[in-house]
Amino acid sequence: MVAAVQVRDVGKSFGATRALDGVSLTVGQGEFFALLGPNGAGKTTLISALGGLARADAGTLSVMGFDVRAQYRQARRSVGIVPQEIVFDPFFSVRETLAFQSGYFGMTKNGAWIDELLERLALTSKADANMRSLSGGMKRRVMVAQALVHRPPVIVLDEPTAGVDVELRQTLWKFIRELNKAGHTIVLTTHYLEEAEQLCTRIAMLKAGRLVALDTTANLLAAFSRRVLRLRLVSGSLPPGIAASAQLDPTGRHMVPIDDFSQVADVLVALKAAGAAIADMEVTEPDLEDVFLKIMRHEDAPAAGRAPP
């Protein structure tokens, strides 16, 4: 089966800035894929190159097997992009905006799907309102509808939930999950890592234009993050064997990394033997934020060593 998105050795510079530096990745059809990284990592540049808004200096990109340069018509038909910045045409209403966008893809009789999009994104009551009169969140929904109006097999969302209220976020993800179940490939960038962790099965992390991690969410969590037993003592102290690996969290609790729950019993036994009494404790699961920070910090380490004083 042809890859939904294929990126091979893509490089892109803006003046002296290397926005993308030899990035390669493949997103399979039907995947829910996250593209993560700090600001300026190159996520938006990569998405722009995919949609033909930017041109890669090196390497190739394809969508559903269509090269974004040589076969731009098929490639652009295959992808719907929700840009990060809120933009709109103040001349038109919501429905006009969607009808025009559909027409640009050659789909002039698309009213039923447009009505469905309006319904699903809770825009029906605003269908005939001018774009100017909409709130930021509403405009964002229209942009999502614009990206979906030609029913692209691949949907790319560049920080779709930035500055968006909880209700819309949930409506949006519910809809996107359904589209994913129906076979659409989803590529998403976000700064809300819990969103990526809940939604995406695979994650790529970019830093300074380079790919620094690419794996399933489960593998990344397992490899870079561990469960932590957090406990507060009423009396006594941690025995040396445990204290060696423990740290204090911001609330003053001891954090003891554990690999599985059976180790909890070992810790408790050791504490009892040392005469320490526990005030409270909990086991926290690994999370993506932890993974993200570790990978980004790890990537910093060699560079920091070389940095001038």
Binding site: F14, S48, G51, G52, L53, A54, R55, Y72, R73, Q74, R76, R77, I81, P83, E85, V87, F88, D89, P90, F91, F92, E96, F100, Q101, S102, G103, Y104, F105, G106, M107, T108, Q146, H150
Partner: protein, 251 residues
């Protein structure tokens, strides 16, 4: 199916929604020019035998308005889309450079036609003008507004600010139209200015257009057609190259 018809229609709807500003205002300006100049100068100038000054003025004013509005249409649409950022909505769909060019060009011609028709309808009530060769008039009307539409596309792609579009209008298009023989027959000019006018492509468009009405012109309509046509082809080619290269549109 191609996205071209939709983009063309969108560009038409865009200017038509604000037609008071984009059509009615230039028609009114042209009529004011007609009233004032024909009042001040009538009887003192006869450009062609048997053609009054007011009659002489009507096609020139109409063409001037058409040229200015053809430029304004494509350039302002592009610069507005670029500055507001919504240009991405036409860059993301599978529209080819030729489709983009064609849609903006034809919309410019359509706006010029609306303005030109407005000027004629209103002017005819005041000053009836003969139409000797309608096909010549149409040919120059379409070619002239096409040329300015293409120039507007180039300016719209190149410019980064509204001021730069305004500079195009004030320092290029205004002088070229005002010095092209809209208000006078160039045979009344001193030799230096006459020579200079022959270097002005706008002169040929207006002179050829006028030939369509009076059957008389300062130069042969075939020469005017060749020059206007050549300039149109050159600018169109250049505009298409800019669109193909993605210059200032795709990073």
């Amino acid at each position: 199916m191609s996205g071209f018809p939709t983009l063309f229609r969108k560009e038409i709807v865009r200017f038509w929604k604000v037609s008071v500003q984009t059509v009615a205002a230039p028609v009114l300006s042209a009529l004011l020019y007609l009233l004032i100049f024909s009042h001040v100068l009538s009887g003192r100038v006869e450009a062609f035998p048997g053609v009054s000054y007011a009659q002489f003025l009507v096609p020139g004013l109409a063409m001037m308005s058409m040229l200015q509005n053809a430029f304004a249409n494509s350039s302002s649409s592009l610069i507005q889309s670029k500055i507001s950022g919504n240009i991405i909505f036409i860059l993301l769909p599978p529209l080819s450079p030729l489709e983009l060019f064609g849609a903006y060009l034809l919309a410019s011609i359509a706006r010029a036609a609306a303005v030109g028709a407005g000027v004629f309808i209103a002017a005819f009530l005041l000053v009836p003008v003969p139409i000797a060769h309608p096909l010549w008039a149409i040919a120059f009307g379409v070619l002239g507004s096409g040329l300015l539409g293409a120039l507007g596309i180039i300016a719209g792609i190149w410019a980064e600010k509204f001021d730069q579009i305004a500079a195009f209008q004030n320092f290029l298009i205004m002088p070229l139209t005002f010095l092209s023989g809209v208000f006078y027959s160039i045979h009344s000019l001193p030799p230096f200015w006459l020579g200079l006018t022959h270097l002005n492509p706008f002169f040929y468009m207006i002179d050829g257009f006028r030939f369509g009405f009076f059957g008389q012109a300062d130069v042969s309509p075939w020469l005017s057609l060749a020059i206007a046509g050549g300039a149109f082809c050159a600018l169109s080619f250049f505009a298409l190259q800019l669109l193909r290269s993605g210059y200032k549109l795709r990073t």
